[in-house]
Symmetry: C2
Subunit: 235 residues, 2 copies
């Protein structure tokens, strides 16, 4: 039986930053050696590969998209590449594949066939926010995106506050940028004065801000988050 | 008033791997520019700096240790450096400062004085394991180290299994290497056959292994983990 390929999980940038700031040299070398990719967004994956190597042979490479329109057959095609001995790279739209982003399906399939999986180091807005918050990194939960419905969102935020205070787990969550100001409003209106809140915006970008303070202090020092990707943390 | 310094959170290696594999170029440049450090372990911090620059002026640099013997005064000294305008680097023993490692105290103090905090990209065994597991990265909890007492450990593992199945949160935890085989034994004896278990050992090292399978399959395919740093995940 021929040797199977390896599934590489390639980090993407979180925005327009230089890859030298966020992607180690060897990760770039490994990524540039691949010609088979499973990607969340074709444009952003190609942009990343061109940033790593301006001469990257896009036209000689094969891409499968993983998004809402993808089918099981698409994932199976990537699996066949691996079984045939091709190395395959997974690239999400931003940051680390499989963390708050697609990619877990092909990884899970790879494991079912005993194919080697190689996660590569890169930027994760979740992890960088947690580091920068000053809150406990000994125990934490990431909840993904908040509910859209306001009543449900407020209930959810209050339950996070309760768990952070009661169990000491740092609570991490996010929302789409255009709802960030609604989230902030709810946080400042509904949480207790002394609850510690961190907001990390534009992580790794030139206008990055990581601020931790009490809800009381946030009420006096709020700023515009409406166009910034943000991670929220309750300590 | 003089400009305050910036607090840099510098990633360390997870073992003997090359820093080109895991630390971006700019992160190395930023780190090498510093002369004031707060470190978990002097030896490992110096080793990291020498890996980044064989000529790094260790003797012209100042180090404060953060460990069991550290006092509040040590942390205050680092804060004074920042207030005086010095940039300060935080380096833990391995991986990312503040995540399952010390560092959060000085970060929290820095925020209280409105000092800029700059988390830098590097390897996190927790995040890399989660990426490599194929389990949900949309929602997850990290629990730190397991209880030492066996009865308590078994109860804890069963509660993780329950939460993973019931709420869909990937459960992440670890233990010291010499207890890994006891943990594995408990996992294989106490969890349900079809529970999905991932074990990620020696992350980023040459002998890295990330394997996900059912508890039933693990019983047939267990291997020695007794000397390997491991992250365990229940999916």
């Amino acid at each position: 039986m021929a040797k199977t390929g390896t599934l590489y999980l390639i980090p993407n940038t979180l925005g327009g930053e230089s890859i030298e700031d966020i992607i180690p040299q060897t990760v770039q070398e490994d990524s540039k050696s691949l010609r088979h990719f499973m990607v969340e967004n074709l444009k952003s994956a190609r942009r990343l590969l061109r940033k790593m190597d301006r001469q990257f042979p896009i036209d000689d490479s094969l891409f499968i998209e993983m998004n809402k329109r993808s089918t099981e057959q698409d994932t199976m095609k990537a699996l066949r590449w691996l079984i045939e001995g091709k190395n395959v790279g997974v690239i999400s739209d931003a940051g680390c594949a499989c963390v708050a982003d697609p990619g877990a399906d092909i990884v899970s399939l790879a494991h079912s066939q005993k194919i080697a999986v190689m996660p590569l180091v890169g930027p994760s807005s979740i992890l960088l926010s947690l580091m920068g918050s000053g809150f406990s990194g000994q125990k934490f939960s990431f909840h993904g995106y908040l509910p859209k419905d306001r009543k449900e969102r407020i209930q959810t935020l209050k339950s996070y506050e309760f768990v952070a205070r009661r169990k000491g787990y740092t609570q991490i969550f996010m929302d789409t940028p255009y709802r960030n100001m609604n989230v902030l409003e709810d946080l400042l209106n509904e949480l207790a004065d002394h609850t510690q809140l961190c907001i990390a915006s534009n992580i790794t970008l030139h206008n990055q801000r990581v601020r931790s303070m009490s809800v009381l202090d946030w009420r006096e020092n709020a700023y515009d988050l409406s166009k910034s990707p943000c991670v929220f943390l309750i300590g």
